[in-house]
Amino acid sequence: MTIYQIPKPLTSIDGITEALASVGYISTQAISTTIYLAVNLRKPVLVEGPAGVGKTDLAQSLARALGFPLSRLQCYEGLDETKALYEWKYGKQLLYTQILKEKIHELTEGAGTLEASLKKLGDFQDIFFSREFLEPRPILRAMEQKTGSVLLVDEIDKSDEEFEALLLEILSEYQVTIPEIGTIAAQVPPIVILTSNNVRELGDALKRRCLHLHIGFPEQAREQRIVRARVPDIGQHLLEQIVAFVDKVRAEKLRKPPSISETVDWARTLVLLHAEELDPRIVQDTLGVLLKRQSDIAEIVDKVDELLVEAVAPGV
């Protein structure tokens, strides 16, 4: 067993924060600490939070920052082994059998009885169940990477309980058992990130095995940095106003509060419209970019004036 060297950026919490910042993901202390623990303790991370706060993005940025390949598994109800772990290439097996009919005939030529032919064929029985005919799916692919990888299991709360049981076994040992071939153990354990929107409660066993990270809506300073990273040519004044306004909107009772991705889109829209600062008219016109439900828009459109005043008033 080779000693696994943890790559440089992951050896300290600040190193992780810097590495993520270098690819445009603004991390928090909590996020970096959890990733640090996950890598060093070899535990998967369960990331929960509202939609659009950067859960999937975390895995993608991490893969980019470390230069690891990203294996992504999108979960849905009815997801099973064949889509997640591996599948045999049935078509290829059948095809090869047909093509190699001649060769097989040659091989069994010398044998006189049925038994002898079977024995001769028996020596080649594993040919059609070798690595060549195995189609690896995301989890197996992640296990097989020689130099480390990131495995993203997206929206695990949309899968069912059978899949969770499957995952449990794999995540504890970091190895996959294929009956025909044997056990494939991961030489370098992948960094496993599971995301969940909390549509349903996950099973206890899975939750207890993972480290838990909750990413909520960011506070204003961090959100400003995030928007600045995505929309570099935005003015500082406009940026502050946007972030303050969105913060106020989130405090209202909405069915779907705006998340970071919506703030970024809105910032881009306003930059495109050459807005220098927020005024009620332009906010009302572009509210559809920020809020995605008609009931929410109807609720906010009347309050735009007062929310704007509150947001823009400095430090009140």
């Binding site: 909590a30 959890t34 303790l41 078509g91 059948l94 939750k207 207890r208 993972c210 480290l211």
Partner: protein, 445 residues
């Protein structure tokens, strides 16, 4: 260090956060790895390992602040320093040392009071009423009895030693105050949430008509908790895989990719629908309180229920969806009761439901939930309409707040309605209502 963490985990469990042994072990490993030099890093680490949901994280953060308090060392840390933890072994201090402690304060005083409190077993505190008891024991272990005796002697001597006596009394007060603070802190960590949970349980099981104003406020939090619990329990529509029945068409279609060989078998499965509930509430007099809770709970569940229609009736039937949606709960309830005023007539209400365009809302997926005492003031019970509802809907669930021994007496026609109801139960407490709704949701799973 393990003992500090073990005690912290105990406190988390007392607060309702189910931390398993495996997680405790992970916590020890993780802390051994990151060290405890940086407070924020420690907090994040313990949060990642011990708190596995958003509510648990809130509990954890609050407890962390209390437990790893900046001024006083954590309650268990001092035990490692070699002090025994049985009462008998704690050495009480003599009067001079006590006076010094009281006068100088600082870390020594805090440490001494800590040790005394731990030795007095203050971590077993559960209720606020136990605080004085533990304060007394802590002070006794510190050796307050000697001080008291000297104060008494000083008072008897009178004017001669007045200044010294005053100083001793001031010292005693300081010590008492600090001991009280310490025990209070223990209560905050170990006892408070246990008390909250206990009170919630009591209120859930108390008869609704006996609830006081104070309990009413607790009701809202309780209902929110119940709704969350029910929602989590019935969170997903399960696709029932009916493994016995092969879906031939699908199997053959899938087999075409493999030259007709059916590698992949397809089975039939049934999709379970989301519940549709129609609620009929009798809002007369005594039943009104129950209606409040039922509606509160159902509206908290509205996301899990595909279609919820609520009707209130007394003399007439009224649709209360609008009212409930547009107003605060209390105002809505008063409005509803006012709208439906009059003497109860079940027959009229049923005919308002079935003999108007409202009857369309009842189909074979609907559960009809009736909350009422079936006291119809000797009016026509309209059994024919009830039969129609029973035929058309999935099931009828009747919740009767009246005690079962009164059913059928006087103007109660519940026994006539009984044959048509799938379930007829007596509900007196919030726990009963929760159970009834749980059963309804379970029928759809």
């Amino acid at each position: 260090m393990e003992r500090v963490l073990a005690a912290f985990v105990r406190a988390l469990r007392a607060a309702g956060s189910p931390v398993s042994t495996a997680e405790t072990i992970d916590a020890v490993k993780a802390v051994a790895f990151v060290g405890y030099g940086d407070r924020q890093v420690l907090k994040d680490t313990l949060g990642a390992v011990l708190a596995k949901s958003e509510t648990e994280k809130h509990t954890h953060d609050a407890l962390f602040e209390l437990y790893f308090n900046r001024e006083a060392p954590p309650p268990e840390a001092l035990e490692d320093a070699g002090q025994g933890d049985s009462e008998a072994e704690f050495d009480d201090l003599d009067v001079e040392s006590l006076m010094n402690l009281a006068a100088n304060g600082g870390r020594n005083a805090a440490a001494a009071i800590e040790q005394a409190a731990a030795a007095a077993g203050a971590e077993n505190i559960r209720f606020a009423t136990q605080v004085p008891h533990y304060v007394r024991r802590t002070l006794q272990l510190l050796g307050i009895d000697h001080l008291d005796q000297r104060i008494l002697e000083g008072l008897q001597k009178g004017k001669a030693d007045e200044k010294a006596t005053q100083a001793m009394m001031a010292a005693r007060e300081t010590l008492q105050r600090r001991a009280r603070e310490q025990v209070q802190r223990y209560f905050e960590i170990y006892g408070k949430s246990a008390t909250e949970n206990f009170m919630n349980d009591v209120v859930a099981n108390r008869k609704i008509e006996k609830l006081s104003e104070h309990d009413q406020a607790r009701m809202h939090t309780l209902v929110a908790k119940l709704a969350k619990r029910l929602a989590d329990k019935h969170a997903r529509r399960r696709k029932l895989k009916n493994r016995g029945v092969l879906d031939i068409r699908k199997t053959i279609r899938r087999a075409t990719a493999h030259d007709g060989v059916p590698f992949d078998l397809a089975f039939k499965f049934k999709k379970k629908d989301r519940p549709k509930i129609v609620v009929l509430c009798d809002v007369s007099g005594s039943v009104a309180r129950y209606v409040g809770f039922l509606l509160m709970l159902l509206y908290a569940l509205h996301e899990k229920v595909a279609d919820l229609r609520a009707f209130a009736f007394a003399a007439h039937l009224f649709d209360v969806d609008e009212t409930l949606r547009n107003n605060e709960f209390e105002t809505a309830m008063t409005q509803i009761i006012r709208m439906c005023g009059g003497t109860t007539d079940y027959g009229k209400a049923l005919s308002d439901l079935m003999e108007t365009e409202n009857s369309d809302i009842i189909d074979r997926r609907t559960t009809v939930l009736v909350l009422g005492d079936a006291r119809s003031n000797y009016g026509n019970p309209r059994l024919d309409l009830v039969r129609e509802i029973a035929d058309r809907s999935k099931r009828i669930v009747w919740l009767n707040p009246e005690i079962p021994s009164l059913w059928g007496f006087g103007d109660s026609v519940i026994n006539q309605y009984r044959p048509f109801c799938t379930t007829l139960t007596h509900c007196a407490t919030v726990a009963d209502i929760e159970r009834a709704i749980d059963d309804i949701l379970k029928a759809y799973d």
